[in-house]
Each structure stands twice: as C-alpha cells, then as structure tokens.
C-alpha cells in the first residue's frame, strides 16, 4: 500500500471522525429514547415520579403498587410506541430508498390504507367470522397490508418494477382502498362507524405483553435480514444504473425491501391502527442528522420513529388531563413543527 499523502491522511481521519460522530448520535438517540420510555410510563391518570418509574423499569422498584401500574399497564404501551415507531420509521426509510422518492411511505402508498380497509371490513362484517374480533381485526389488517403491498408490486411490476411505476401503482392502490374504506363507512351502522373511525385514529392503549411479543418477534427476524442489504440500499441511492454497474441485483434488493415493508407495516398497523406521519418523516430526520449511509441511517430512522411516537404518546396523555388524545393525530401535530424547523435550519438542495 502506497504511503498516504497529507490529504489522504486527513481523509482517513475525517472518515474516522464522521464514523465516531454518527455512532455518538445513535447512542444519543438511544439515551433519549430511554428517557422517553420512562416519561411515557410515568404519565397517565396517576402521575408517578419519573425516578421511581425508572427504578421500577430496571427491576429495582420496591413499591408493589408502582410496579403493578408500570409493568402491567404502562410499560406495554410505552414499549409498543417504541416498537411501532421503529417499524414505521424503518418502512418509510426503505420505501423512500427503493422507490427513490422522498414522499414514499406505507401511508402515502396504500399499504396503511389496505390495513385500514382490512380492519374496517372485520368491524362491519365481524359477527360472521369464526374468530373473536380482537384477533380478527389485527389479522385482517395485516393480511390486507400484505395484499396491498403485493398488488403494488404486481401492478408496478407489469412495467418492470421501476420506481416510477411502483409509486404510481401505490398511489392508485391508496385511492382504491380509501374508496373501498369510504364505502364500508357509508354502509356501516353508527356503532361500527364509530369503531372504524377510532381504529383509524390509532391507539397504543390496546397494547399487551403478548402483542408486544409478536411485534418484537417479527422485527427481530426481519430487521437483520434488512440490514444485510444495507450497502446495496445505499448504492441504490445513486440510481438503478449506477447500482447495477456495481453488480447489485437491483430488482432483488427492491423486492426484499418490499417484503420487509409489507411485513413490518402490517404488524405495526395491525395492533395500533394507522399512524401516518412517522414513516414519512422519521427517515428524513435521520437522513439530515446521520447521512445516507444506510447502515446508520436505517437505525437512525428506527430511533427517530420510536422517539417521535414515544413523545407523541406522552403528549397524547398530557394535552388535556384526564382525556386521551388519539395518537395518530398527536404525532402529526407535534411532528410537523419539528420537521418544519429541521427543513428551515438545513440548507440542502437534495433530499
């Protein structure tokens, strides 16, 4: 290896500093998220001191009452916010990368609309099913999210599964499922209609340890598979041509990304309802803070999504004391100003 010039040595040191800075940012994100979780568990009809909650979360609590509230009621909700936020952040990041489109997310491209339709279908015709509604709704939501994803892929694939055709297919699917959902709402009884509307608002309160376990298990399997494609996804950011020239099977990467989006969106949406803003915005925040290297950007998007939903969960309980604001509404209400601020302070012309 030839000796490095001064500029080369500076480049190597610059790269090390950049790597260290990004690692520090991710670590900071984890710490912030931990604080959010404790605050989330401390907030509720009975406010608990965060320090006491933190001790209880770490298994050091000695007040059985606090332990019971934290462990059986609040922690599942707080952790569900983290997992669902992370899943939505990741799906948005993957979609934006594989579709080369800053507006892509499972919400804007019909996957969430599919899940919403699936849930509403069970609510309207639910009594006819052999399953209890509490299980049928998430299952149907999950299946219709997968169906929507498959439809986008097949429809877009007719013309070669390019980003453009997939985005167009996604938009078309979104309108289709929204129209189908509106039809169900139009036909539904007032009680069913109310239930549909509340499901669509999204709620973390339905979280239990077993649901949490399902979401966690899906992510534990899916995320490492996604991360194996991290460098290929990074290469895809320069366009299909340049990625193919590097020897990457562009279609395969895109397909695997789609499968991830389908599964992760499905499982997230099934248990908490449609939450729109996180998947769109978390990747942009991660990109601005961490850059485009997907090895770090994907974890960054997961952390951002988790933190956003966690903060929204705290806010949904504190905006009006005693009442619970729907999480899907709060997320956008607090996320948009934050996002606008980020756009204003960053002067980049690219996304």
């Amino acid at each position: 290896m030839a000796a490095l010039s001064a500029a080369g040595a500076a480049a190597r040191d610059g790269w090390r500093r950049l790597a260290a800075r990004r690692a520090a940012m991710l670590a900071g994100g984890v710490a912030f998220l931990a604080v959010c979780v404790v605050l989330d568990a401390a907030t509720g009809p009975a406010m608990l001191p965060p320090a006491v909650v933190a001790r209880s979360v770490l298994g050091l609590g000695d007040d059985p009452m606090v332990n019971a509230i934290v462990w059986s009621i609040r922690l599942p909700v707080a952790l569900m916010a983290v997992l669902v936020g992370a899943a939505l952040g990741l799906t948005g990041a993957v979609m934006q990368t594989i579709l080369n489109n800053p507006l892509a997310s499972s919400y804007t491209l019909g996957v969430s609309a599919g899940a919403g339709f699936g849930a509403a279908l069970v609510i309207v015709v639910g009594t006819a099913l052999p399953l209890p509604e509490a299980q049928a709704i998430p299952l149907s939501a999950f299946l219709f999210a997968a169906l929507a994803c498959a439809a986008v892929w097949l429809l877009g694939g007719l013309r070669g599964a390019t980003p453009e055709t997939l985005v167009l297919a996604g938009i078309a699917l979104m309108f289709l499922f929204q129209a189908a959902l509106a039809t169900l709402q139009f036909l539904a009884s007032p009680e069913a209609l109310q239930q549909i509307v509340f499901w669509l608002f999204g709620s973390l309160q339905r979280a239990t340890w077993s649901k949490l376990g399902i979401v966690a298990a899906v992510l534990v399997v899916a995320v490492p598979m996604l991360m194996r494609d991290a460098w290929s996804l990074t290469a895809l950011r320069f366009g299909d041509d340049r990625a193919a020239a590097l020897g990457i099977g562009v279609r395969g990467v895109r397909f695997r990304g789609f499968v991830f989006v389908s599964v992760a969106t499905g499982v997230a949406v099934a248990f908490v309802g449609t939450i729109g803003f996180v998947g769109l915005v978390a990747p942009h925040v991660a990109r601005m803070l961490i850059g485009e290297d997907q090895r770090l950007m994907l974890p960054g998007a997961a952390l951002t999504g988790a933190a956003l939903l966690s903060v929204a969960s705290v806010a949904s309980k504190t905006i009006s004391p005693g009442a619970l604001f729907p999480i899907g509404i709060v997320t956008a209400l607090i996320g948009v100003p934050f996002f606008a601020w980020l756009i204003i302070i960053s002067r980049r012309s690219h996304w």
Binding site: A2, R12, W231, S232, R237, R242, A245, G291
Partner: protein
C-alpha cells in the same frame, strides 16, 4: 450471453506504473434487441490490456447498448468473453444522494463491506482517492461537487473494485474542455501505466482520435469501421455515418483533426 466473467485475483492497487492482471474482452456477434428494434446488430471485436478503445457513432447508433451488453448488464445475443473484472460507468445523470465521496468510493468495494467497514477497506478507498489526487474531497457530499469532480469520484469508485477492464459511457459529456482532456489523459495513463483495458464511448471525434489507440465506429447498430483514428476518420466515413461534409486535417503532432465544412442546416448541404 456472458460465457465467463472471472473475478480477477486480488491485485495490488499500487501507484501508477504497477501492472495489474491482463484484461481481455472478446465480443462475438453481439446483438441487442429492444422489442422489434435491433439496437446492436452482430458486432464483433476483441481488445486487450493496455488498449484505449473509443466507441463512436451518431446518437442512437447502439454505442451504449453495446457497452452495456459487454458489461453484462443487458441481455444480448452472441457472446461476450472477458478475462478480468469489469467496472462500468453509466452515463452521468447527476447524483442526488447526500453520500460523502468516501462512502461513494467504498461502494466500489461493496462485496468486502459489512456492518463494519474494515480498516483495510478505508485505507484502500483513501489510497484510491489519493491516486486520482482527490483525497481532499473525501468528506464532501457528492451532489455538491462540480461535474468534473463527480466523474473523478465515480472513476475512483470503479478503480476501487480493482478492475482489469474499464467501460465508460460518455464520461466527458458534462465536462468542460480542460476536464475532458484531463480525464481522457488519466484514462490513457491507466491503460499505459497500469495495463487496464479501457473502452470509452465518446462523441468528440478529435478527442477520440487523440486519446484512443483504436476507434470503433457504429452506425445503425453495425460496426462500420475499426482501426486507429488516422485510418478510420475519412471524409467518406463522416459523410456516410454522420451525414456531414468535413475535411480531415492534421495537428502538429500528426493527430487527425475533423473540421466540418458546413454545419447541417446552413443552406447548402450537398
């Protein structure tokens, strides 16, 4: 179809002057079809290490298709045989992704990268940048570079993969005169000094004649001329292939110079 695409053995990417493995490419009656249209029609040629081959011809004559077929990125009839790893540079259509130059060059080594980037890969990328004299750009974002710098960065990405064969699709199209000259002399240096085989699509016939050992002229998907610039560039060829009238002069160094007599549409076309 590609009969064999050997990965070259790990070769040292030393400074200028180190001869790497010998690249060779043999293109045998390659045809490329887009639906009913025949973009490349039975083209055959061979080229070997140390050569700079310029692929020229009018727009739509099949240059890019032939290059892509040679790179194995396009389904084609006929046979492409090559010894040595190929690196392909697509036409420059900008770069919007906010990746640093360092990350871009590392991508050239994508097979060696995992969740951690090994120190050896970092050193390799840095020395590749150093070799092209652009190590000072390492931490810059690619979309913020000038067109000339961007092409050098993507050339560094190609070189990072330790190729024996470089295929470049119009690498100079967005460059000013100075950057065109420096990129082309760099390519020639890589062929002469490092024994790389360089095949490059060019529009500028004078640059092609000056920098390439050999010119392949494509017209309607067919190979119509193959040889050194001095032989290939004739008034007849320019009239037949490009439909222009031109005189062929000579520079002081004896390199042929195409001087169009009358631009198309000026009123007195022959």
């Amino acid at each position: 179809m590609i009969a064999s695409r050997h990965a070259s053995p790990s070769l040292s990417l030393g400074p200028y002057g180190t001869v790497s493995t010998m690249g060779r490419i043999a293109v045998d009656s390659v045809t490329v079809r887009y639906g009913d249209r025949l973009a490349v029609d039975g083209v055959s040629f061979t080229a070997r290490a140390g050569d700079v081959v310029a692929l020229v011809g009018p727009n739509g004559s099949g240059k890019s298709s032939l290059l892509r077929a040679a790179a194995g990125l396009l389904r084609c009839g006929g046979q492409v045989r090559c010894d040595g790893r190929i690196a392909f540079l697509p036409q420059d259509n900008g770069a919007r992704a906010a990746l640093t130059v360092m990350e871009t060059v590392l991508l050239g080594r994508i097979r060696a990268l995992g969740m951690r980037v090994p120190e050896t890969e970092v050193a390799h990328a840095v020395s590749t940048l150093d070799r092209l004299g652009i190590a000072d750009l390492a931490m810059r974002l690619v979309p913020e570079l000038s067109g000339g710098q961007r092409q050098l960065v993507f050339l560094a990405q190609m070189l990072a993969s330790e190729p024996a064969i470089l295929l470049l699709d119009e690498p100079t199209s967005a460059l000013d005169l100075r950057n065109q000259l420096s990129l082309l002399s760099l390519l020639r240096g890589l062929a002469r000094g490092c024994g790389l085989l360089v095949i490059v699509v060019l529009h500028d016939l004078n640059a092609a004649a000056r920098f390439a050992d050999r010119m392949l002229v494509l017209c309607n998907g067919r190979l119509v001329a193959d040889g050194p610039g001095g032989e290939v560039l004739t008034e007849t060829m320019l009239a037949n292939v490009y439909g222009i009238r031109a005189e062929i002069g000579r520079s002081n160094e004896g390199v042929p110079l195409v001087v169009p007599i009358c631009p198309i549409g000026c009123g007195d076309d022959p």
